[in-house]
């Protein structure tokens, strides 16, 4: 024993250094091998997402899941370190830690050895181009390095992209090989441009460009839904994606909010007579642009349709979503305001995008709005066609928080509205009075609420909530065009009256 301990003492310093190194290596080992991602199988009828695992430096897929995705495994025999699978009248045999795969009587070499992890046989991606086409007797389109495969009669669309500079922004042009349908969403300060449900294979794995407004464009279909993720370089840009008549060319402009106001052309022809007493029965078409300038001297009204994108807001029992209802109502109010010829209008959101509350306030401030109105719908009890107008409830704690801090050079972002509260309350009173003229509507007295959205708006700012939009209530009355046109006309009358009219 002493013979054994003696050398141990002599080399204790070496051991002392070696042990922590090995310990650290073991600590980081699982994190590296358990890193996972997704791989998408596009089949003629559906797309399937399988987990992709990185073992060592290579990417692997679980073999049985792959085979069950593309067809049906007819039988299998699992031995200690080998697997035999019967699939489509063929037989394949794999061995753990062996590159060689036996396909019927043929031997095929994979780029990396087969691995077994958590009892699953894992094959390298190279399996998809060497063995899979022979197994399934169908055409397989797989580009090495990509994370998607197209099997059978699936013809992926593709696209080219171009970035141009325009005054106060950039224009992204995407030309697709097939017709597509786009949808946009916003999350974590990024824009997501969904490219429909058909499979898409981008020409490039990575988009290289230099642009002052856009830092990154990334194609992603990791959840089986192809989309482009655009990362802007600065906050507060507006995103205006449009698709042309052919359905193949998407142009998306990224513009500074302030610039957008000045750059817009004259308003579109009015859909109804100015200040029409008889409301139009047809809902106006949704606006194509966020801003409409109808003469630079006219007062600016910023309209905000609540929610949008992945934030649907409240839901009605009939499946009506607050975000859609608000977009419809705002489009109608916008048309009526423009038709009056007395106001300029800017919308905070165009299309189905989710902007942050600060982005909405920033749009109003950049447009130098005289009035900001945000529209919401929610649970207002069992009686429907109710309208409530809110102004900001001044914070009551700490005691100084409710005072307007306008004496200094800078006003804290979260307290901007406090200096406008008197104007906001005046506007709320006038709006409430005008809303009571809408037939069939119940209008509550103006209320206050701790509304996060209004806190930073540097204009007379109110929130209009209509209801009831809730699962247990029939909300169809809220989509009634007479009710919506009544709101739009009441807003025009209220603005005419507010602070002595538009001038």
């Amino acid at each position: 024993m002493t013979q054994l301990i003696h050398p141990l003492r002599r080399h204790s310093r070496v051991l002392f250094i070696l042990m922590p190194i090995l310990g650290l290596a073991l600590m980081f080992w699982p994190a590296r091998t358990l890193r996972s991602d997704n791989f998408v199988f596009y089949l003629p009828d559906a797309s399937h997402v399988l987990p992709l695992q990185t073992i060592g430096s290579a990417s692997y897929l679980p073999l049985l899941q792959v085979l069950n995705t593309v067809g049906r495994v007819q039988g299998l025999t699992v031995a200690k370190d080998s697997l035999k699978v019967w699939f489509n009248d063929s037989q394949i045999e794999l061995r753990q830690d062996n590159k060689r795969v036996r396909f019927n009587k043929e031997k095929i070499n994979l780029s990396e050895p087969v691995r077994v992890q958590s009892g699953q046989f894992m094959v390298p991606l190279n399996f998809l181009e060497t063995v899979l086409p022979r197994l399934i007797h169908e055409s397989v389109v797989y580009r090495l390095g990509s994370r998607r495969i197209f099997i059978g009669d699936v013809k992926p669309g593709t696209f080219s992209f171009r970035l141009d500079q325009v005054p106060n922004g950039s224009r992204l042009t995407l030309e697709f090989s097939d017709k597509i349908k786009i949808r946009t969403a916003s999350s974590n300060g990024k824009w997501v441009l969904y490219l429909g449900n058909k499979p898409v294979q981008p020409l490039e794995q990575k988009f290289n460009f230099q642009d002052p407004y856009l830092s990154n464009i990334q194609f992603d279909d990791q959840d089986g839904v192809p989309k482009l993720i655009l990362t802007p370089t600065v906050d507060g840009l507006n995103f205006y994606p449009k698709i042309d008549d052919t359905g193949k060319i998407v142009t998306a402009e990224l513009l500074k909010a302030q610039a957008a106001v000045a750059q817009q052309p004259a308003p579109p022809p009015p859909p109804q007579a100015p200040g029409a007493g008889t409301p139009s029965a047809v809902a106006p078409a949704p606006p194509e642009t966020a801003a409409s300038a109808g003469g630079l001297g006219l007062p600016m009204v910023v309209l905000d349709a609540g929610h949008g994108g992945d934030d649907s807001g409240a839901r009605g029992g009939n499946g009506l979503l607050e975000k859609d209802l608000m977009a419809q109502l705002v489009a109608r109010v916008r048309s009526t305001l423009l038709a009056s010829g007395k106001y300029r209008v800017v919308l905070t959101r165009v299309g189905d995008v989710n902007l942050t509350l600060d982005q909405r306030a920033a749009t109003a401030n950049a447009a130098r709005a005289k009035v900001f109105v945000t529209f919401h719908a929610g649970n207002l009890g069992v009686h429907t066609s109710r309208i409530v107008v809110y102004t900001l409830e001044a914070p009551s704690w700490p005691p100084s928080a409710g005072d307007a801090q306008v004496s200094g050079l800078f006003i804290p972002w979260g307290t901007v509205q406090l200096s406008q509260l008197r104007r906001s309350q005046q506007l709320a009173r006038i709006l409430q009075k005008e809303f009571t003229a809408i037939s069939g509507a119940t209008v509550s007295p103006p209320a206050t609420a701790p509304l996060r959205e209004l806190r930073s708006v540097n204009a007379a700012a109110v929130a209009v909530e209509i209801g009831s939009l809730a699962a247990e209530v029939d909300s169809t009355a809220l989509t009634n065009s007479n009710f919506q046109a009544g709101i739009a006309n009441a807003i025009v009358r209220a603005l005419d009256e507010y602070e002595g009219g538009p001038s």
Binding site: L22, A25, H307, D311, V382, A449, P450, E453
Partner: protein
């Protein structure tokens, strides 16, 4: 076996044992970190236990404020409960009663699945309520519903526990922007008695 071979064998054995020990420690720590449900479940159980244990006090009539269905105000409702002795337990009792809902058919201020993870009461009278995020995810969004939910909590707590002067709402231990898209949770709320409907004679 030569002396040199023996030495190497022992060194390797020690290295493997040492590495394995460190690895096991890391795994245990990771397992602890990666089971928030267990932690939350524990917190919930503790909360319920505390509320139950404290249900040994004298009976007390408390006043709860629930959103009334139509006028956007809060309506009072009295309830007798075995009043706990400590203020934080009393806060939990009032919150559990609000989550349980009205006996008179008034609107629920919070979903029945609402979980209160923790309660703190600072010496200056600020009650911190930490809610679990999964319950608030099913909270019906709306300006009125969120505003009334907040003041239902604040007014009910202040009406029954004099040491509660104001309320700060947290979600998963963090300050969040809004309750569900509207009401500003960056604020500390003081009771607003104008939101209580005058009691009917």
């Amino acid at each position: 076996m030569t002396r040199r071979a023996g030495m190497i064998a022992i060194a390797l054995l020690l290295v493997i044992l040492g590495g394995g020990f460190v690895y096991l420690r890391v795994l245990t720590r990771r397992a602890k970190l990666e089971s928030p449900e267990h932690g939350e479940e524990g917190a919930r159980t503790q909360l319920r236990e505390a509320a139950l244990q404290s249900n040994t006090g004298a009976l007390q009539t408390i006043t709860l404020y629930f959103p009334s269905d139509d006028d956007g105000q809060l309506q009072s409702e009295s309830r007798q409960i075995a009043w706990a002795t400590s203020d934080t337990d009393r806060i939990r009792q009032v919150m559990l009663a609000l989550i349980e809902g009205s006996y008179k058919g008034l609107r629920r201020p919070l979903p029945p699945t609402t979980e209160l993870r923790a309660v703190f009461l600072t010496p200056d009278g600020t009650a911190y309520l930490d809610f679990s995020s999964n319950a608030l995810a099913v909270f019906a969004p709306g300006i009125q519903s969120e505003t009334l939910a907040i003041y239902s909590i604040v007014n009910s707590l202040a009406a029954n526990i004099p040491s509660v002067l104001r309320v700060k709402i947290l979600v998963q231990g963090q300050e969040v922007e809004t309750l569900n898209g509207h009401a500003d949770l960056g604020e500390i709320f003081v009771p607003d008695l104008t939101r209580n409907q005058p009691a009917s004679p």
